[in-house]
């Protein structure tokens, strides 16, 4: 069979049910193979949309996403999703077409050095040099993307090779001698961590994106005692946002309670987290009294930014049950945490997340998120874009379960939201999937509305329209003497008309008194909906750790 038909067989063997892509000259053979493959292909309108859709699919389902593009511009359009997937450890396989082998290196038509361009932003990449290599490469790509610390893998396929006739034998063994992730966690270290925890009087669990795939185990661990839990923006949903042991989000726009708790903690158990600068703020003053247990599958994360006293390398899913058992076996004195909880409760009481609501019909952005929480009964899968709306969504939508919150955390990619929501809905059709976006971000991948309309992908988009690149405006206001420079987006475009042009339903909401009901209506409308929600223009996200400051100096 043709190498591309073998490719389809491999995709099916990997359990791939859907891929997102857009064809071109160099992947014509692949697209021909879709005819008989029995794999759902969704035609996107821009490869970046396809890449983010594959990410959204992967984040929503925990399975490997697949995105396709042709050579040259198709591949370069995938660069942002590839980098985004790298930063947030999302398992996605990117299949790019490449010019035929005799043209490689000659600046052939639509030639780009895809492997070279993407090298710093992939977990791994492969240029196929012989058609017989293709099947094994595909299985290796999936294996690498899915295991260890997940991430993007690029397979670049020259068009002539993809047409070659090859004998196809299913491949069941993937052996990569240079790739053997440690998964189980060292038992001695686990025991040590349990002891440290049993002796701690001010412990905090700090859970990152890596704990999303170990949410059940995390809850079991945290509730084996009254261990307080905070999550990073990537970890939200790994621990229920309504649980009494929940402190709220950590970091720059996290709750005071969470940040103060970290600041005063004597032991921090970091799980699948990487001590990003948006979390630590001023590194030298981060958690000054704490010892660190660091659980991560990537050994390079251990002690990268903050030295770990007890590192444990492996899957949180495997380590946490053992840690819980060891901890229980020590029969720690639960009373020792009373004082700590006292302190935490007092922060909670003094510093709840609040905002000053309008006295008229004006919709405050924070209220918009609360209204959405109410209208969706807290049950939607929420995909966010990047900016103020992302932070407000993270703060005010209390995520109850893992994979309910999908956002671009590491790279902070505007334009992520809509395609990610599309991918999430395709992967989890039974879920209500909403996209919270900004008037700026939405315009960076609006074209995917056409994909949603054409394929009946039922996403509900809520634009928090403040007429500004709001997050940048906030920084200019607070740290650059309010000298606004190119952050005003005006009243353009008319999002209702735009939605209609794309075959979606457009709505506009301006009154807070009817907002919940309006949103319910949007949610009940069939097919993709875009709601242009007009909110207060110059509201700021608080609380905030200002740049260069420590957590205890939060403002707002």
């Amino acid at each position: 069979m043709r190498a591309v038909d073998a490719l389809m067989e491999c995709l099916k063997a990997e359990g791939v049910e859907v891929v997102f892509g857009l064809p071109g000259g160099a992947n014509l053979p692949t697209y021909d193979a879709f005819h008989d493959a029995g794999i759902r292909h969704i035609l996107v309108r821009h490869e970046a949309g396809g890449g983010h859709a594959a990410e959204g699919y992967a984040k929503a389902t925990g399975r490997v996403g697949v995105a396709l593009g042709t050579s040259g511009p198709g591949a370069t359009n995938l660069v942002t999703p590839i980098c985004d997937a790298m930063m947030d450890s999302v398992p996605v396989v990117f299949l790019t077409g490449q010019v035929r082998t005799e043209l490689l290196g000659t600046d052939g038509f639509q030639e780009a050095d895809t492997i070279g361009i993407t090298m710093p932003i992939v977990k791994h990449s492969m240029l196929i040099q012989h058609p017989l290599e293709l099947p094994r490469a595909i299985h290796e790509a999936f294996h690498i993307a899915r295991t260890g610390r997940p991430g993007p893998v690029v397979v670049d396929i020259p068009t002539d090779l993809s047409r070659a006739d090859i004998p196809y034998e299913p491949i069941t063994d993937v052996h990569l001698p240079g790739y053997q992730p440690t998964t189980d966690g060292n038992h001695k270290q686990i025991r040590l961590a349990a002891k440290a925890l049993a002796n701690a009087s001010r412990p905090v669990i700090y859970a990152g994106g890596g704990s999303v795939s170990a949410a059940e185990e995390l809850v079991e661990f945290a509730t084996s005692d009254r261990l307080p839990v905070t999550c990073t923006v990537m970890g939200l949903g790994a621990f229920p946002g309504t649980h009494p042991q929940w402190l709220g989000m950590l970091g720059m726009h996290g709750t005071r309670t969470a940040n103060y708790a970290i600041d005063e903690a004597d032991l921090i158990v970091a799980i699948g987290a990487r001590f990003d600068d948006r979390v630590t703020a001023k590194l030298s003053e981060f958690a000054p009294h704490a010892k660190f247990v660091h659980i991560d599958v990537d050994p390079a994360e251990i002690s990268k930014n903050v030295p770990a006293h007890i590192p444990i390398v492996g899957y949180a899913k495997k380590i946490l049950p053992k840690l819980t058992a060891e901890y229980r076996a020590l029969e720690p004195d639960a009373k020792r945490l009373d004082e700590w909880w006292h302190r935490i409760e007092s922060w909670r009481e003094r510093h709840p997340l609040t905002f000053t609501d309008s006295t008229d019909a004006e919709i405050k952005p924070q209220y918009m998120v609360q209204a959405l929480y109410e209208a969706t009964q807290g049950d939607a899968v929420v995909c966010s874009d990047v900016g103020q709306h992302q932070m407000w969504a993270a703060q005010h939508y209390h995520f109850g379960r893992p994979r309910q919150w999908i956002n671009s955390g590491g790279l902070g990619t505007m334009g992520f939201g809509l395609p990610a929501a599309m991918g999430a809905k395709v992967g989890r059709p039974e879920e209500m999937v909403v996209c919270i976006t900004g008037d700026g971000s939405f315009q960076m991948n609006t074209q995917e509305l056409a994909t949603c309309a054409q394929n009946g992908i039922d996403v509900k988009v809520f634009i928090m329209n403040n007429g500004y690149l709001g997050m940048v405006r906030q920084w200019q206001e607070l740290f650059w003497d309010r000298r606004y420079s190119h952050v005003d987006t005006g009243q353009y475009p008319d999002f209702v008309k735009l939605a209609e042009a794309y075959g979606a339903t457009g709505m506009r909401f301006t009154d807070k008194h009817t907002l919940v009901e309006d949103m319910r209506q949007a949610l009940a409308t069939e097919g993709p909906v875009v709601a242009d929600v007009r909110v207060a223009a110059e509201e700021n996200v608080y609380p905030m750790i200002a740049p260069g400051q420590a957590a205890r100096d939060m403002v707002g």
Partner: protein, 185 residues
């Protein structure tokens, strides 16, 4: 140092100071990699990206034709050597890394020196060569080429001695290394 995103102005001195906290001893990393295209680029790219500095680099085959050995020397960077090796380990094609202990390692480098040498100083140049067991591999009217092997320090010393004669050019391979005794590198 100033925080990104704020309007605080940074002095160049501050910037330079922040980038220069590399100290400590030299490291020799012996890295076994799959002999596949682009592997060297991945490694050097990783160094550039993470702000690590390569001093010398030598690549060659091993006794197994599917595996190549890369020998890298790094200057100091003690604080981050751990990060270097961990990040290298994440490259799928990297099979094994050893941070060789200087005292338990045989390290050698080869260098070619083209030295100005007319009739007047030729005897003196040849004497230095002899002391260093350097081989004269080419002689012309005005120059001679000496081949030296040895540790980096020995080659540095040779360079210091012949430089006053007039060093036309020099080529060094970078060190290759192997562990002493029975243990595998």
């Amino acid at each position: 140092m100033g925080e990104p995103g704020t309007k605080e102005i940074l002095s160049l001195a501050e910037l330079e100071a922040a980038g220069s906290f590399r100290t400590g001893r030299k490291h020799i990393l012996s890295i076994l990699v799959e002999n596949k295209p682009g592997v060297l680029t991945r490694i050097t790219g990783l160094f550039a990206r993470r702000g690590f500095n390569i001093d010398t680099l030598a690549v060659g085959p091993t006794d197994d034709e599917t595996i190549s050995r890369i020998t890298l020397t790094l200057d100091g960077a003690v604080q981050s050597i751990d990060q270097v090796t961990k990040q290298l380990h994440k490259l799928i094609n990297v099979l094994k890394i050893r941070d060789l202990e200087p005292t338990e390692t045989m390290a050698r480098e080869l260098a070619l020196f083209k030295i100005s040498s007319d009739g007047g100083n030729r005897a003196e140049v040849m004497q230095v060569c002899e002391i260093f067991r350097a081989k004269i591999v080419d002689v012309s009217k005005r120059t001679l080429v000496a081949e030296v092997t040895g540790t980096q320090e020995k080659i540095d010393a040779f360079e210091r001695l012949v430089r006053p004669f007039g060093l036309v050019e020099m080529a060094r391979t970078g060190e290759i290394a192997i562990a002493r005794g029975r243990s595998e590198t």
